[in-house]
Structures are given as C-alpha cells and as structure tokens.
C-alpha cells in the first residue's frame, strides 16, 4: 500500500486545471500514478508528466461513454487494485462524487468529498472540509484506504516535471442489466470561457440582471472569468442550469467572486462562501450578500459593470 492514484479530468487529452491541482496535492505522498479515461486519454501524458506523475494509465474503451458512472468505476477500481493504491484522489465534481462513492464501496475504503486541504500519510490521510454552507470547517482523519475528492482552487498547481510512462489498461466491465444506458447525448455549446468549477475568477448574475446577462458576460470576458448565475436567475429561465452557483448547482472557490444583483440566500452562499475575495454589486444595501463582501458597491449593476469593464480593458490594454 504505497501508491496514490489520481483520476484526471480531461477533454480529448486537455487536462483541466483542478486535475493539475490534484496531482500537485498528491505528490506529498510520493510519485502519483495518473489515470485518464475516455477518448484522447493518451493526450494527457504531457500534462501528467509535467505535474509529477511517473505513470499514466489510459482507458479509451467505448464502454465508458455508453453508460453512466459504472464503467468508470470498473476501470478505476481495477487500476487501483493493480497499483495497490492506498489513496485515490479525484478533482471534485458531481460525477467525481459518484465515482468516488461507488469506488469506496467497492474498495471498502473511507470516503471524503470536497476536501479543501489534504495531509497526513498514506493509510492515515487527514483532510479539511468546509461544511454547512461554509460556516464551519471540519478536520477528518481516515484509517486505511481512502477515496478523496479535492475541491478546485484548494491547492495551487505547481509543476514538477518527470516523463510519464504511458500504459493502456485492459478493463473487464461488469455490463449486464444494472447499467444506466446513455441513449442520447447532445453536446453543449462551447462558450470559450473557463470552466466554472475551476475558474480563478467567477462573475455571477442574479435577479438584479432583469434577465440581461450581457453586462455580466462582458465583465467576465474582460477579466478572463467564468460566468455564474443564482438560482433565481436560472429558475426565471435567464441562464442555463449548468451555470448555477449554489447548493443545487456548482460549488466554486475562486480567487475572486463577483456577485452582481444577487441577494445572497443561504442556498447561494453555500456555493461560493469559500471564495478568497468577494465583490458585491447590488442596489439593496440590506442584501445579506454584503456580509461576505470585501468590497461592496451599492448601485445598479447595469451602470456599474459596464464602467468597470471599460476600466479593466484600459488597464489591460
């Protein structure tokens, strides 16, 4: 029991930033073995090596995309057994939590999701989590094998280049009637913006946008930020659910969170309370979101955001 296994998220071999953060965190336990699943997995080799993975195991079988979650668990569980993993680390996310949960059952391992820090030693891993809408921090201690998902922006990604030896794994899939078969898949429109979960800066709009996200998007683009939305804005049909920040959407922890026209209900704060800095723009000085603000601006976002966007463009020029 001496290996740490890191399951990378990638799109056609392009490894996500939270995955590189996870590899960086994994290095404290020794040289990690990385796993990349799905089409283009071998393309992850360069990034895996740059961030210290001595080995990259790839699986590109069609089974992975034919059913939900279970085939990925088949693959990771078999690779974990092969390398005798004492710790499996995954960048946090909705699918990652499900893979981790099933994996913990299969490996009879401890399960920790959404860790914001990880330490200790293999076999006795320690973690910190931010719970109850970020109002509490808990420390946990694990005995034995552990499966842990690590929240984005918890650990800065730092390179430590090695050459990753790439091997393709042969997986035996459980198959059968217990599969959740994917019968249709419609790709989403690319926005060209960073992924919400791992973005350094997030600009979110709420009820105060009155349904017009143009100013929110313009500021996000000037800052190189991801766009988010409150549940009120999503429920009103103003922005897709995939961009919802909060308890029933994404949990984000960026360097800077801009809340524009968002009142700050507990359900929203649960998704952004661990952000390093918060900028609030809201017409209502009594809005609870101001309690989280490092800088709060009482004003109309339709006036304030374009003025800031202009300033940012001038400074960056």
């Amino acid at each position: 029991m001496s290996t740490v296994l890191v399951v990378l998220d990638h799109l056609d071999g392009a490894v996500t930033k939270p995955s590189l953060e996870t590899l960086t965190a994994a290095r404290q336990y020794g040289a990690p073995v990385a796993v990349a699943l799905g089409a283009g997995a071998e393309g992850a080799a360069a990034a895996a090596g740059e961030y210290g993975a001595a080995r990259l195991v790839t699986v590109t079988d069609a089974e992975l995309d034919q059913s939900l979650v279970a085939p990925r668990v088949d693959a990771v569980a078999q690779i974990a057994a092969e390398v005798d993993a004492a710790l499996v680390l995954l960048p946090a996310g909705i699918t990652a939590a499900e893979v981790a949960g099933r994996l913990a059952v299969r490996l009879d391992a401890a399960l920790i999701t959404d860790a914001v820090a990880i330490g200790g030693s293999l076999g006795a891993v320690t973690t910190s989590q931010s719970v109850f809408a970020g109002n509490w921090t808990t420390e946990s201690e694990v005995t034995g094998t552990a499966v842990v998902t690590l929240k984005a922006n918890s650990v800065p990604a730092e390179p430590d280049p090695v050459t990753a030896e790439v091997t393709a794994a042969t997986i035996s899939y459980a198959g059968g009637s217990a599969l959740a078969r994917i019968t249709a898949s419609e790709a989403k429109r690319e926005t060209g913006r960073p992924d919400l979960g791992g973005a350094r800066i997030v600009v979110s709009g709420g009820r105060g946008t009155d349904g017009n996200f143009a100013e929110v998007e313009a500021l996000a683009d000037a800052l190189g930020a991801a766009v988010g939305a409150s549940r009120a804005a999503v429920d009103a049909g103003w922005y897709p659910h995939a961009y919802q920040v909060g308890q029933t959407g994404k949990t984000v922890s960026p360097q800077l969170y801009v809340a524009a026209g968002i009142s700050g209900a507990i359900q929203h704060r649960a998704g952004m309370q661990t952000s390093k800095e918060v900028l609030v723009v809201n017409t209502d000085p009594e809005a609870p979101i101001f309690a989280l603000a490092d800088l709060g601006v009482v004003g109309d976002l339709h006036t304030v955001l374009p003025a800031v966007t202009e300033q940012v463009k001038q400074i960056n020029r």
């Binding site: 799109l11 939900l68 979650v69 279970a70 909705i94 939590a97 499900e98 893979v99 949960g101 099933r102 913990a104 059952v105 299969r106 401890a110 399960l111 999701t113 109850f132 109002n135 509490w136 921090t137 808990t138 420390e139 946990s140 201690e141 694990v142 005995t143 009637s177 217990a178 599969l179 959740a180 078969r181 994917i182 019968t183 249709a184 898949s185 419609e186 790709a187 989403k188 800052l223 897709p240 659910h241 995939a242 029933t248 800077l256 649960a270 309370q273 800095e277 900028l279 000085p285 309690a291 800088l295 709060g296 601006v297 004003g299 006036t303 304030v304 374009p306 003025a307 800031v308 940012v312």
Partner: protein, 260 residues
C-alpha cells in the same frame, strides 16, 4: 409496483447549525425538517404513482426519533406508508455504514424503484444514490431533470457539464432527481389528516440482520477530529455608486488583489 422514496431529517439551513461534542451533526439542539431536496424525490414518486395503477410509495429514513418528522412530511404529501430505521447503535455512522443500512432496508422492502434527492442539505455529499446502486447491484440514474417510467424501463434526462443526456435502464433501479424536476407539492389539509392513519414501521439493526459492529462511530473509517466555526468575515468596504463613480474604486480593488 412499489417505489421507495428516501427522506432525510436535517437541521434547518436557515437556522444555526451546530456540531455535537462527538463532532456529529447536532440533530437535537437544532430545529429539523425534511431535507428540501428530498421533497423533489417524494414529488416525483407521487407523480408516478398517480399516473399508474396500483403503485405504492414508501418513505424510508434512517435516523433518531426526530427523523420521524421527515417521514411524516412525506406521508402528508401523499406517500402511503413509512419505514423508520431507528437504532441508537447507528449514531455516528459514516456514509459507508449509512449506505449499508439503507441498502439492507431497501432489500427488505424489495421495491421496483428507489427515488432519492440529489443530495442532502446538511452533509451535501451527493453520493448516496450512487452508493446504493453500487451496493444493490442495480442501475443508478442520477441527477435527473426529468423522470419517466414506461413498463419496466425507467428513463431520465440530465445535464452534464459538456452534454445533455438521455439515460435508460431496466427496473429495479435507483434514481436521483434534482430541484429542476418539478416543484414539490405542499401537503393539503386532507393529506395532513390522512397521514395520521398511515402505517410507519420502526426497524432496528436486528430486523435488518446487520452486525452492530459494522456501524456507528466505532466502525467509521473516517472520523471528524475537529469542527470550528468560521470566524465572521471582517466587514469589507462599502461604497455607493453614482453613475458609475465606483468603477475606479473597483479597479483599484482588482489591481490590489492581483486579479487583473
């Protein structure tokens, strides 16, 4: 046909939520209620029952005495009966042990379909539906925005980060539904009165043939060693904007924080 809707009793998120001395969630000292996200699971179960013939909906929970309130709410909404796994020896169980208890209770009930919320509003891990599918060896159709049943085939729509998916499986299956699946009903006066006459079974570990040594704080593979309340954030600067006058202040803030 039988549907089990999983319901969890959680501390009210709009009140103060605390930890007990053993670092488990304090469920005695705070006001609790049915986890809001589980109301969507009850709602979807009831909609299937109303559309079908001879469909029974059972609300299942694991928890202390107070957790009965979660079942009561589900019964008031329209579930037919409840099962409450209530055993002091379960206190302090980690998610692995809790999933083993739930899986044992589900096996005993032998439903065709299990419907869960997408996550609890206290632990918020969002892992239970997947872990139950794994333990039961059934298909797991998670994060459903839409749910429908045709014969013995269950079908969901869900939104992933990069794609919208349609997913199908054969029964028995475990489904989790999101808050996008459709508003949950309020109990009617008739529903509240009817709930008082509906049966609720109490079960212990012995009824489920589970080894007490496999659950509880003692068996937990992970344990919480400290819980600290986040210090209230220092009050930030607040300025009032006049026709975009705050832009320079914001630009300075962005520069100081190295966000540009």
């Amino acid at each position: 046909m039988k549907i089990v809707a999983l319901v969890k009793y959680v501390p009210d998120a709009t009140g103060d939520r605390e930890f007990a001395e053993d670092f488990t969630v304090d469920r005695e000292g705070s006001d609790g209620l049915l986890s809001e996200l589980d109301e969507y699971a009850v709602e979807q179960s009831l909609q299937i029952a109303e559309a079908g013939d001879d469909v029974e909906v059972v609300a299942l929970t694991v928890g202390p005495d107070d957790a009965y309130d979660a079942i009561k709410r589900a019964l008031q909404m329209g579930a037919d009966s409840g099962v409450h796994v209530n055993d002091e020896r379960i206190h302090g169980s980690d998610v692995l042990a809790t999933s083993a208890v739930l899986a044992a209770a589900i096996r005993r009930l032998a439903p065709d379909l299990v419907v869960c919320g997408m996550a609890s509003t206290d632990g918020s891990m969002g892992v239970m539906p997947a872990m139950l599918a794994e333990r039961l060896g059934w298909a797991g159709l998670t994060q459903a925005r839409e749910l429908s049943l045709e014969g013995t085939t269950v079908r969901i729509s869900r939104d992933d980060d990069t794609a919208s998916l349609v997913v199908e499986a054969d029964l028995p299956a475990v489904v989790s539904v999101t808050d996008q699946s459709g508003e949950a009903r309020y109990p009617s006066m008739k529903g509240i009165l009817a709930a008082k006459k509906k049966p609720v079974d109490e079960l212990t570990l012995d009824d489920l043939d589970l080894d007490p040594a496999s659950v509880g704080l003692g068996a937990a593979r992970s344990r919480v060693t400290a819980a600290t309340e986040r210090p209230a954030k220092q009050a930030g600067t607040v300025v009032t904007d006049e026709d975009g006058s705050s832009a320079a202040v914001i630009a300075d803030f962005l520069t100081a924080g190295k966000h540009l």
